[in-house]
């Protein structure tokens, strides 16, 4: 078990190094933040002075080594756009994204899996067919369209929900939460649905196929032959065996919801990491982009590790082999 964990950690470290190198080599193509800072009336000399003082005139490998040297000490520099330490900028945005992603994940798993189980158990019922059609829509409509349609209905026509922002937030220590206020929840509804819709339909379809496959397997037939109750067959035996692929996908999807909620956050002006990164890219805010990419790499490494550990919990065969 310990060896397994150490191996995973070493893998993760290699991934981090590769990601940081790759992301840094991309900065050549991002463009130049200088014009955004000094204004359009700046002279050639002023622009050059700014480039020099930001170290942008140095060769890229040198810039990379300096970045790594600072990053190892947990120092990511100052954001060009907000002139604030990058660590503070990211820390202030993390709660918004995590709350949004977690609520969306609960929605996606909590609704998607039961729908999938139902569809797997009763593949021919009318409700299943209806769900299938809906899921097809959910999987094929891009999320910015979903977001705008929701805004059209619930903000413009009905005027029930706010179309942007996070509502009122409460500061709990360092965590700025929107889950404790009415306006916070009202603001969360549409972004969470927008972010969850694709995942929800994905989980429904995945669960359904897995379920149907497991139900055809021999041990289910044996269980039937033994005269076990239908409920116990469906939920204790069949569902549990469908869970392994679902856990894998769920882990990765949660990671991508946190990392790539960019579109949803932009549509709803949700002040999280996705909005931060899209604005950093259009501003050329290199320190924020670099730190963000590292953070996301770390996140995926950790999620994969947790997923691997969950396999042990769900599948006894893995424990036996070790």
């Amino acid at each position: 078990m310990l060896r397994f964990l150490l191996g995973r950690l070493a893998n993760g470290a290699i991934v981090m190094v590769l990601v940081s190198m790759l992301s840094f080599s991309l900065f050549n193509f991002i463009g130049d933040p200088v014009s955004n800072l000094v204004g359009e009336n700046a002279t050639v000399n002023e622009r050059e002075a700014m480039r020099r003082s930001l170290g942008l005139d140095q060769p890229l490998p040198l810039q990379y080594l300096k970045f790594v040297g600072r990053a190892v000490q947990g120092e990511f520099g100052v954001s060009y756009r907000n002139i604030e330490p990058v660590s503070r900028v990211i820390a202030s945005r993390l709660p918004a994204t995590l709350e949004l992603s977690l609520v969306a994940a609960v929605l996606a798993l909590g609704v998607g899996i039961p729908m999938g189980v139902y569809a797997g158990l009763k593949p021919r019922s009318l409700l299943t067919r209806g769900l299938q059609v809906i899921s097809l829509v959910g999987i094929s409509v891009p999320s910015f369209v979903t977001g705008i349609i929701l805004i059209l209905i619930f903000s413009i026509s009905l005027n029930w929900l706010p179309s942007f922002g996070r509502g009122d937030t409460v500061l709990l220590g360092v965590w700025n939460t929107g889950l404790l206020t009415v306006t916070g929840w009202k603001s969360l509804v549409m972004p969470a649905i927008t972010l969850a819709l694709f995942q929800l339909t994905l989980f429904m379809r995945l669960t359904r196929t897995q379920m149907m496959e497991v139900l055809r397997s021999e041990y289910i037939k044996f269980a039937r032959a033994r005269g076990l109750r239908e409920r116990s067959i469906n939920y204790r035996h069949a569902l549990r065996n469908t869970l392994i692929p679902i856990i894998t996908v769920a882990g990765l999807q949660l990671g991508s919801m946190i990392a790539f909620s960019i579109i949803t956050e932009t549509v709803f002006q949700w002040p999280g990491l996705g909005l931060l990164i899209i604005q950093a890219i259009s501003f050329g805010d290199v320190p924020v982009i670099a730190a963000y990419l590292l953070l996301i790499a770390l996140l995926f490494v950790l999620i994969n590790m947790v997923v691997d550990l969950l396999y042990f919990a769900v599948d006894p065969r893995l424990r036996a082999q070790r």
């Binding site: 204004g39 050639v44 622009r47 756009r81 907000n82």
Partner: protein, 528 residues
């Protein structure tokens, strides 16, 4: 600042907040951008400068006609050709209760010159600011400077005591990776105080009840909420989530006009959009012409001029909302030669073809066209339209459309052939800055946006005279002569002034000016 002052300020803030929740005039507005910093000296981003001008003030200010009026100074006079004496307003208090005097002016001038400051370029004609007595300062300029007051607008005054106490006596410095208190907090003398700041979420301002001026506005609280997505901003206006937006996409104007509770406020911006051409390289980049540069030939530049139909651009790209330009200077800039604001050459594709034939390009040529896609109103669509106009006279363009961060690198490094660019003449709102940045020969200090490296020594000779001529009539004549030279050379091809498009709930008077800045101290909310 003593503790008792602190407590009083806190009580003051609490009272304001209580008043606001009681339903007094709260004004919520939005833009696609957020202010970068609250430090009035640490960035030179036009939206940020405009935003902090509601909190910090200078000795003088612009009104909504962009005319200079007194602010922290009550009067000024010339004591020698290069020294101006300003009499400061007495009894002015900063938001924390401290008094304003000459020491704060001198301190702010020194702070502007600290390494992290990015506004010192806006004040580059100033040599020194000296205290004469507690309420008098002398401002010395490098040369006689008729536009000193336009430049002084950029010298926003901070409180010496507050800045030193909070270790913010120097501007935040990106180069040294140093950030300070003034980046996140503010203490000015202006009509509004900063209550809270959450980046990309909201800024809350409250009216400064102790403001020295009699307020024209009737706001008690102001909420600024940046919204990046155009569609979301528009729908928030319609659903009433915000009261006003100062970045309305042109395609949403008809939709907003159809809403009974909203109105659209539109006018020409100071910014003129124009096309530049590489006139320095011996071989044009991104072109099939080898060994020479067609844009060095005046006839080719005239041919491009006559091939572009600015009225058609106005009609079909700008949805009627543009003001075709006769030169690079908006008529609203101080000193603008309004008589020259008519097209030099008419739109005429046949004449254009003849000129190309005379210049030795009977079949035209191919050239790369560099355009931004997120910088100006409909920049990308304008380039697409011009591309097909130019094709009709035989100039085939390879469109090179890029985001601003990439396009600006090209402009800075002269990596251009035929390119779109614009300039608003800000922050001084005077013709000199634009002529210096765009038309002057490129050196370390001039011609920073002259990416095509147009250069005419006769024009350059006029610039120092325009900069230092105090007598208005003589200055106007110099400007007219200089612009006539640049126009005859077709240094650039002016297209139009783009629109400032704002929208607001009916019953709110916004006081829009051509510099696209929200002056909250002129906003009136009449009834809900």
């Amino acid at each position: 600042m003593k503790l008792s002052t602190l407590r009083r300020t806190a009580i003051g803030f609490a009272t304001c907040a209580a008043m606001a929740t009681a339903g007094a005039a709260t004004f919520t507005w939005s833009s696609n951008l957020d202010a970068l910093s609250m430090d009035p000296h640490s960035t030179n981003n036009s939206f940020t400068n405009a935003f902090v001008s509601n909190i910090y003030e200078s000795l003088v200010r612009f009104n909504d006609k962009l005319q200079i009026e007194p602010a922290l100074a009550t009067s000024w006079k010339l004591v020698s050709p290069t020294v101006w004496r300003y009499t400061l307003r007495q009894g002015v208090k900063f938001h924390n209760g401290e008094s304003f005097d000459a020491d704060d002016v001198v301190f702010s001038w020194q702070r502007v010159n600290t390494p992290g400051s990015l506004v010192k370029g806006n004040l580059s004609d100033l040599k020194d600011v000296r205290k004469v007595d507690a309420y008098t300062v002398d401002v010395e300029t490098n040369a006689p400077l008729p536009t000193l007051n336009n430049e002084m607008v950029q010298l926003l005054i901070m409180d010496k005591g507050w800045s030193e106490q909070n270790r913010a006596a120097e501007a935040s410095d990106l180069g040294r990776q140093k950030e300070n208190f003034a980046n996140r907090n503010a203490n000015g003398t202006g009509p509004f105080k900063l209550i809270s700041r959450e980046v990309d979420t909201r800024r809350v301002l409250a009216a400064n009840s102790g403001w020295w001026d009699k307020p024209k506005h009737n706001l008690t609280q102001v909420m600024f909420t940046p919204i990046k997505s155009d569609a979301t901003r528009t729908s928030s206006l319609i659903s009433g989530g915000i009261d006003a937006s100062i970045s309305v996409p042109l395609q949403d104007v008809p939709r907003l006009k159809s809403v009974a509770t909203l109105e659209v406020v539109q006018g020409p911006e100071l910014r003129t959009i124009f096309m530049g051409m590489d006139q320095s390289r011996d071989e044009l980049l991104y072109s099939d012409v080898k060994g020479k540069n067609p844009f060095k030939d005046l006839r080719v530049r005239q041919a491009v001029y006559q091939a572009i139909d600015v009225e058609a651009l106005k009609r079909s790209v700008m949805r009627g909302a543009s003001w075709p330009a006769g030169n690079l200077l908006s008529p609203y800039l101080n000193g603008s030669p309004v008589a020259l604001n008519k097209r030099l050459l008419p739109f005429n594709p046949e004449a254009s073809k003849t000129l190309l034939k005379e210049a030795g390009y009977p079949n035209g040529f191919t050239v790369g066209m560099q355009c931004p896609n997120d910088r100006y109103v409909y920049d990308e669509a304008l380039c697409l339209a011009m591309s097909s106009m130019l094709a009709k006279v035989g100039i085939k363009t390879n469109l090179m459309i890029e985001p601003t961060v990439k396009w600006s690198v090209r402009l800075n490094s002269n990596d251009v052939s035929l390119y779109m660019v614009g300039h608003a003449g800000l922050p001084m709102a005077d013709v000199y800055g634009l002529l210096k940045d765009v038309v002057a020969t490129r050196t370390g200090k001039e011609g920073s946006l002259n990416a095509g490296k147009y250069s005419n020594p006769k024009f350059d000779a006029y610039l120092p005279q325009i900069a230092s001529e105090i007598e208005p009539a003589r200055r106007a004549k110099l400007i007219e002569e200089a612009v006539t030279i640049e126009r005859a050379d077709v240094s650039h091809i002016p297209l139009h002034q783009q629109p400032v498009t704002w929208a607001t709930r009916k019953g709110i008077a916004l006081s829009q000016a051509p510099d696209n800045q929200m002056r909250l101290w002129l906003v009136r909310v009449n009834d809900k």
